[in-house]
Symmetry: C2
Subunit: 394 residues, 2 copies
């Protein structure tokens, strides 16, 4: 890589949940929270705004959302303004764009904001909107929306490796427990012990309600800048050290395997190599647990354990505080909810806050130096990974 070093130097989030707020109001709320959280931030210094939003056209009947977000946040970008969309990875896509722009010298101080308003009066309309994330003419007629697709993945993983419903529930239990320490999480005040999870209604076998992330409204924002300016905002920047993406099919008929996530293997390897570390060096990971089975396969694809051992990795608590590394301390998509465009930004914010030891003890990784953030999108056909290193004195 050429270009300047880039870091996240601050951020903020709205409460995630079923919110009686419009898309614009969520953007405004994230902006207000950002200026409170980063008092050194002056609106006139922000030269660029990158907006992560998956489907405002369908969920909020609004397109051209980048200038709308700018206005609502009190920003007037003079360098770059754009929205990035990559379905469930739209937030990370906005951060990657900000990173590239700053590294190239096109921006000095950028905000990446993710906003999604998913709860519509009509559940059928919301489901129809979600359905167009998959290949609609080819996979849509077969009913391949997210829950049935990931249910098929889980069934196949069970067949190949003997993964159990109890192991799936272990992921959900851990992430919901973490969410109990995060007031912005959708399920902050709800507890999900394993026996309760195993009695929840089935959504698409073997996935029960507690195995699925929810339709959520929310917004989050982070500030990125270069090595020249980072010290103005924090003494603990989260430096971007690696980035990887990989796309290996779209139409499901072209998928080589349901349980071997080739794209994540490639994207993870590239991001870790760029950072010059091994997966064993990670103290912390924010993984895309849109469904419990996703987190299990992600352990495997990242090389935290061997193929087929993800279920045991979860059940043995190796992703909890005191385990191999802390996975999804924020509460994950399962505990926080999954406002598509906001999720990737919220994950990066958690990394920044973890590096500053600024989260409740119940979810704080011990003195973390290296963190990885992962998002998948669509039918797990695209994987996006970023690796961060804590800056400042140890």
């Amino acid at each position: 890589m050429s270009g300047r070093s880039v870091a996240i130097v601050g951020g903020a989030s709205t409460k995630f949940g079923v919110r009686p707020s419009t898309w614009s109001e969520l953007a405004q709320e994230a902006g207000a929270a950002l200026f409170r959280a980063v008092p050194e931030l002056r609106a006139e210094d922000v030269d660029s705004l990158f907006v992560g939003a998956a489907e405002p056209e369908r969920f909020a009947f609004q397109s051209h959302v980048a200038p709308l977000a700018a206005e609502q946040m009190g920003l007037r970008p003079t360098r770059i303004l754009q929205r990035t969309e990559l379905a469930c990875a739209s937030g990370q896509s906005a951060i990657r764009s900000a990173y590239a722009a700053i590294a190239a010298g096109l921006s000095d101080l950028a905000v990446a904001v993710g906003v999604e308003k998913m709860n519509l009066p009509s559940v059928a309309e919301a489901n129809s909107a979600m359905g167009c994330v998959m290949d609609r003419p080819w996979d849509g007629p077969h009913g391949a929306t997210a829950p049935p697709f990931f249910a098929m993945v889980a069934q196949r993983h069970m067949l190949e490796y003997g993964t159990t419903e109890e192991q799936l529930a272990a992921v959900s239990e851990k992430n919901h427990r973490f969410a109990n320490s995060n007031p912005n999480a959708q399920f902050f005040d709800k507890t999900f012990p394993r026996d309760k999870l195993l009695r929840l209604p089935m959504v698409a076998p073997p996935l029960r309600l507690g195995d699925c992330s929810s339709m959520t409204d929310g917004a989050a924002a982070v500030v990125l800048t270069s090595e020249e300016y980072a010290h103005r905002y924090t003494d603990r920047p989260a430096w971007v050290r690696g980035t990887g993406q990989y796309s290996d099919f779209h139409n499901l008929a072209n998928a080589g395997s349901l349980t071997d996530w080739v794209g994540l293997r490639h994207a993870g390897r590239r991001a870790l190599d760029q950072a010059g570390i091994s997966v064993r060096d990670l103290d912390l990971a924010e993984l895309h647990d849109c469904f419990t089975i996703s987190e299990i396969i992600e352990y495997e694809a990242l090389g935290l354990c061997a193929p087929g051992e993800g279920g045991a990795f979860a059940a043995d608590g190796r992703g909890a505080v005191g385990g191999d590394l802390v996975v999804n301390p924020r509460g994950g998509l399962l505990g926080c909810g999954h406002p598509l465009g906001a999720t990737g930004i919220s994950q990066a914010l958690e990394v920044f806050q973890q590096f500053s030891n600024a989260v409740p003890a119940a979810r704080q990784a011990p003195d973390p130096e290296w963190a990885l953030v992962h998002n998948l999108s669509g039918s797990a056909n695209v994987h996006s990974v970023m690796v961060y290193q804590r800056g400042g004195a140890a």
Copy 2:
């Protein structure tokens, strides 16, 4: 700016028009045309894909279009894959993202493709989709979709400066005449002499049918790479020398003026300054003539003439071959049609082809060295500009 120099080294376009093709088929067609047009291009060397698309969610009932385009084009990006959206400027936004990624060293060889399928069986649905480009809850109820808004701008320009319907028609006549030399233009085989234009039906006074760009299906793609690799593909690269964007309001109530496009003044100045040239150095400009009045105001905001003199600039043929510079030789949005995400890519492609003297004589700028591409989006509240320089021996 830090980072590497970046150039467009090839590209191709589909036919623009009312096409009996789906979004996916248009992407596939652009991919096939690209590989024919750039025989040195190998799919496995393309590490990144940037997709410009404004509203596939509403026009094509499809989201997560970046991996869909990749699959249709036979590409498997291993570095960066994303869709950018900035309404009518979505295509240029994709190019800017590719430029930043290459300059930062995150990509070595990228394709930027723009695709839009706008013609739906239902005109009402298409109009509803276009309506959500503006601020829907605030401006929507007042009927502020594109034609009424730009009609208001034209009325105001006429009031302030005495601009006439004949001057508006001069823009349309020029761009349609250029389109007659571009077989990919929607109105390639239609002629629009000024007296005919002035008798066309009124859409929103004073804008007649010939003053408005159309709902168009189409796709276009360009290849970008760095200074290390450009020579592999062409001896006449189009180097990116400057980029500017500016956003100064979203809700129409916050617009300071209808006829002084502050955002374009700023974005144009920044891009030209970065390139180290004056507007007088431009040989060629692709301006966003979504409506005839737009091109007139763009002459003024870029400083090609004084405020209020844009109408005369058009009527005097100063934007035609033999004038001050050649404006919209491709045929503009008026002559080519305006498939939102494809327009910005198609404009950049014209610059590349003009630099190689590879277009018909009727629209060839004489030995051009400097070119500017402009897109506006929404209610002309966001302006995006890029400046290119011809590479290779003179």
